[in-house]
Subunit: 457 residues, 2 copies
């Protein structure tokens, strides 16, 4: 609990109107898109780096846990205040500080929503590639904390690949800066890469310098269906094997297609066993040539239908199919487990088979969704955690899915993070010394363990 | 000094034949491509990770400084054993452990030479993009330690962008592993990115998993000359401004062109004030279209001549011009200062003017060489450090060049590193707290400070 004197000090920093302390208000900050909850004692909405620093000085002195939060879309529970204390919500630090497309960077505050960065860059003919499924609502601070991915990371890479620098408030309240606006910079340790993906356990990012890239001349998007899931997956490796690196290759299985059709009626063929949304971009002539090669590979793998978007609106529709999958599955049951195990791309077919087999064994529904070109699997399992028997089966299935991925040389998480969801699995992929080394870093940077405690480190 | 008992223990690990202790032998390991020296007490050549671990256990117990070394090509003195002790030379750990182009990775030991990775990948139609000037001799371990760049990093990014995982021996001798063979992996802290660029001050990398990419269908290379340096630099920003991201845009000034001609007689026009080697790659049709656009931009900037390589041999010749520059300048005087300040790309013309002005003021020769598309400047200053007055002028010029870069929003080093060369400049770009934070990390990971002591942290 936070003493009344401390609370007064905090109130002095953010003012009454940017502090929540009523149970009804706090409740909204006790959960995110993962299926656990923990109540914060206070929620604060800082507006400046200096305010964050002031807050941290107080929390550091009183050893109060602090959990950073953006839009609360974490599917691994990274923004749940597991040990209570303070939730620092960055939604009011949402300024785009500078756009400099000449030198290929933007400077943003952590509360800026991903899509707003895209919109701000559009008039300049630039974009910021990482596009997590949550991009319409999730904040860049959260994207950075989780090292978010997304469909087009196949070609363009993930969040960390776009971070040139950042400003961080440490547990002590000290303000530090790493990196610069220069696209190449090896001055000192690459600390912004360490903070990216650290899930708020090492510091609070208050400003980010992102590299941005020009919008390509042409984008081509197709939706392909197959009557066989193996052929669907094989098409993915065949296309990459042909030396083509599409922007995205998104895989959906029959269950996913049908769930989308039930909900959105996009006209997807319900009888298809597998489907791919493939997007390429670049110079027009290159796209035309590559798409022909892709068609050939798809036909060789017995594609049943290929729809090509002829207009931006049609492209939007094809993406809607893919992007709506999570929402559609979330409606099928009170809870949704969106898995994130990742395997080498050649192991995608085996991982799909294994996932279907495991979920079937436990009598669970599953929809397979995958950033297939990266081997990043998102099987979605709708269930009800109040149904104790079913939830135990979900837990058992999850353990087996994770083990199956590891047996295929895969890993725990491609882009969602560890958070509360996967800490217990760390020993499966890391040795005792590996895990201990993370603690060494954590203890050095946050000696009292006040930053997002109860998570993976 | 290392006691005889300790030496015996070390000898037991590597054997007599992989230990050097005679002054004449040690001398070769007292310097690298930077202009300082320090004698090691011993040089060891480990062959396995376990040997490295065994050595570190002994060094840790006795607090013996350990400096890792590959080919000794560091131009910032990163591989000089500033505090003596042991040089661990990784030249015998040079196995390519696995090539897996299906899943887009290779696993290598640190002593593998960069070019040997390229050669091994060639039959598979893949390559590893980072191409430091030293790539024919420098080891991947050194590339990783320095986060090496190179000409084609403009399009493809630097070393850290290709590291999927690594095995590291810590100061204590403990062996840890970070990352995996999966192209997407957010399991735990991104520690391989922290070790990359840490210049051997945090641990000894004994195995590296690198992402590799398919060789593009077409490569086009041109060499352009201008009678005005501003037009040369402006062409660079105009091309990028047109939404084209070439593989490389390498700038050479008149002094550099003439020095190359004096030495290699490649037929470069001696009267040119500036020259660019521009390379693009990708689908054939895209390259053809882009090269036309590039020609237009070059002509608009009054290019005097454009040579396009018609064959791989001609391409090689154009690159020889660029690649020979360092060697040519190195022959002009006993010492060569190869600078590495980096500025935002729009500031390249200003930085060139300033560099020429500063060196002129101090009566020094200078050749301007730059990865211009990245703003990464390599002014080369040949001089003689035994000429005390001249060397003082070099030092003064260097201080002013660094300050000029910072005044233009630039940074100390784009790809060479800090090492012995630039530690004193860190306070110009980092606050006291920023620098202290690096020490916090260093102290946590290497509490006795035995790993590459005397360097930037």
């Amino acid at each position: 609990m936070i003493g009344s004197k401390t609370k007064e000090l905090l109130k002095k920093i953010v003012g009454r109107e940017r502090l929540l302390d009523q149970p009804a208000e706090l409740l909204s900050y006790s959960y995110d898109a993962y299926h656990e909850e923990a109540m914060p004692d206070l929620v604060l909405f800082p507006e400046t780096c200096e305010e964050v620093s002031g807050i941290m000085k107080i929390c550091s002195a009183d050893k109060i846990p602090v959990t950073a939060r953006g839009a609360g879309t974490s599917v691994c529970g990274a923004s749940i205040p597991a040990k209570h204390g303070i939730v620092l919500c960055f939604s009011k630090m949402n300024k785009i500080v500078e756009i400099n497309t000449k030198d290929r960077y933007v400077i943003v505050e952590p509360g800026v929503i991903n899509i707003d960065i895209q919109k701000a860059l559009e008039p300049f003919g630039f974009f910021y590639p990482p596009d997590p499924g949550s991009m319409n609502v999730s904040t860049i601070g959260g994207n950075v904390a989780q090292n978010a991915g997304g469909p087009r990371c196949l070609k363009y890479g993930v969040t960390v690949d776009y971070i040139l620098g950042m400003q961080v408030v440490l547990a002590s309240g000290k303000i530090v800066n790493f990196g610069s606006t220069n696209v190449k910079d090896v001055t000192g340790y690459r600390l912004s890469s360490l903070f990216c993906g650290s899930e708020g356990t090492l510091g609070l990012v208050t400003r980010i310098i992102l590299r941005v890239v020009p919008v390509p001349e042409t984008i081509k998007t197709i939706l392909v269906t197959f009557d066989d899931l193996d052929n669907t997956a094989k098409s993915v490796s065949d296309i990459i094997g042909a030396g083509i690196l599409p922007v995205a290759m998104e895989l959906l299985d029959r269950a996913t297609i049908n769930a989308i059709e039930d909900s959105a009626r996009l006209g997807l063929p319900r009888e298809a066993e597998g489907s791919l949304v493939i997007e390429i971009d670049g110079v027009k002539e290159a796209c035309e040539k590559e798409i022909k090669k892709i068609y050939k590979k798809l036909e060789a793998n017995n594609a049943v239908s290929i729809q090509e978007a002829k207009t931006p609106k049609e492209r939007e529709k094809l993406w809607t199919a893919r992007r709506s999958a999570y929402g559609v599955f979330a409606k099928l049951a009170p809870d949704l487990l969106s898995e994130d195990v990742t395997v080498p791309v050649s192991k995608v077919p085996a991982m799909i088979r294994k996932t279907v087999e495991i979920t079937k064994k436990y009598g669970l529904k599953v929809g397979i969704l995958a950033h297939a070109g990266d081997g990043n699997m998102h099987p979605m399992i709708p269930a009800d955690r109040n149904n104790i028997e079913q939830w135990e089966n979900v837990e058992k299935a999850l353990v087996e899915i994770v083990q199956a991925a590891i047996d295929l040389n895969g890993t725990l998480s491609g882009e969602h993070g560890i958070g509360l969801a996967k800490t217990r699995f760390l020993p499966l992929v890391m040795s005792k010394d590996d895990i201990e080394f993370m603690s060494v870093i954590k203890k050095a940077v946050d000696p009292d363990g006040i930053l997002n405690p109860g998570k993976f480190v």
